[in-house]
């Protein structure tokens, strides 16, 4: 294992890692409001559930490179087409979990909320989403980890991030550079996963669960 590039250029690798995380995080931030609306509609309007899920399933089957190639003529190179691709893929993971999370909440609990006199919005915000939150947060985690992987490919169209190390390294036949990029991506993905798993434990439901195990 030739770690010379990683040790010799750690500042650059660190900068690229931050850039990578920024791009991935930005994609998730943009994607979440869309996913929240699409997921809620899919969970509430039963006739739309299947078409929405089928469309997302179809999106998922499109290879990321093919999607980028498709976007370049209209969007050009750089961050913009990369973000569009990442936001689209993030929908697949987030919408699926939002639907599953919302659908998984006990119908009797929701009826109790209505019976207490909550409006539809109060019920959504105070009961439905909090009870679905562990599954929703898990969807955000899955989406972010997947997007971190996909952001690598964005390096191919000059969107920045750790993909640069891979594509430039391969072009220059410089294995140490490629290895530095691979290691940084893996570490970033694993750390992100661990951090978001910890965040899942902070949801109200997870807290209530832990409290009851302590009984």
């Amino acid at each position: 294992m030739d770690l010379s590039y990683l040790t010799g250029h750690w500042r650059e690798v660190w900068q690229l890692t931050l850039e990578h995380l920024r791009l991935s995080g930005l994609a998730i931030l943009i994607a979440f409001p869309f996913a929240a609306v699409i997921g809620t509609v899919a969970a509430v309007v039963r006739p739309l559930t299947f078409p929405i899920m089928a469309l997302l399933g179809f999106l998922y089957t499109i290879p990321s490179l093919a999607l980028l190639a498709f976007l370049i003529p209209s969007q050009g190179l750089g961050t913009r087409p990369a973000l569009i691709m990442l936001v689209l893929y993030a929908q697949v993971f987030m919408v699926r979990n939002i639907v599953a999370g919302l659908r998984g909440v006990n119908a009797a609990t929701l009826e109790a909320a209505s019976g207490m006199g909550m409006s539809a919005w109060q019920r959504y915000v105070r009961v439905w989403v909090p009870l679905a939150s562990p599954v929703i947060v898990a969807g955000i985690r899955t989406a972010l980890v997947a997007v971190i992987g996909l952001t690598t490919i964005a390096g191919w169209i000059n969107a920045g991030g750790l993909g640069e190390l891979l594509f430039v390294g391969i072009g220059r036949n410089y294995p140490a550079m490629v290895l530095a990029g691979v290691i940084a991506i893996i570490v970033l993905a694993v750390v992100t996963d661990l951090v978001l798993r910890a965040a899942e434990r902070l949801t109200p439901v997870a807290r209530a669960d832990r409290a009851s195990r302590r009984r």
């Binding site: 207490m116 006199g117 209530a208």
Partner: protein, 351 residues
Amino acid sequence: MAHHQMRSADTGPEQHERGSGIVFDNVRKDYHRAGGGAGSHAAVDGVTFRIEPGEFIVLLGPSGCGKTTLLKLINRLIEPTSGTIAIDGVEIHRKPAVELRRGIGYVIQQSGLFPHLRVRDNVAVVPSLLKWPKEETAQRVNDLLDLVGLPAATYANRYPAQLSGGEQQRVGLARALAVRPRTMLMDEPFGALDAITRVRLQDEVKRIHQQFHQTIVFVTHDIEEAVKLADRIVIMRDGRVVQIGSPVEVVTAPANAFVTDLVGAGDLMRRLALLPVGQAVVSASPGVDGLASLGPAASLREALSLVLESPAGRAAVRDGSDSIVGEVSLASIQQAVATGEPTPAVPVSVG
């Protein structure tokens, strides 16, 4: 209208007003048949009756008879196909459903507590919807937890999953009582509890009703529960009301074979438990002073048990001031059951 909304928040510590009167007028709820078949069937079919303010009404019937549908029509979780329901003379569609429901306590099976909220926050749900001041809500939550026998110091910060089924149902009860509703709807609230816990909670609900006189509409399929709690039992079958009457009335004078079967009117011991000792009292004979005695509120079942234990085969009946009013014997109890004729002490009217 405005003062109606305010009322719940500014009544005194436990100063409930009398419960609401509820009038059902030809209420009907149709559902389309499942499986795409033609036509529809009526879950509730032309129900008309009146609930008096402060009454404890039990809706009793087999599953699918429409009792839960009828209950949910009151707080508009289900909307009627036709007919009207009025609470205190105001048709329930005259104000928004959300506002209507905040004024009606609602207790369901398995408590329906919000698992992500602590006990105190569960109890405070409706006060928070009504934007009560924080201190008032906190005080009210403590009082309520005391009322249902769960000391706040121990229970307020727990999550529902940390409570037993009976404790959860007590919290459900406290939550429903939070804003001092004049009407409480209870949908098989104790159906999932073990027998001992169920009896305790029945006693609790009965005590709370006697203390505050809310109007309570309580759904069950358990005749023992109905007899124990109800001022009047409304017996339903296939969406229709079959009989309305006090527990004694439905057990001693069932309207038809269905009711006889449902309430087990053929069960002699059940009838004895419902009939007051007064029905079998005959004038005292010599020597009654030395016998074991019963109060005037005792049932014939208690009388029978005392008679069977007594070597003399008789028991004395004393009134409130401990003076003897007469005696009961095996023969007099037999006579009371055989005639089935209620004495004037127990007025029975059907309908």
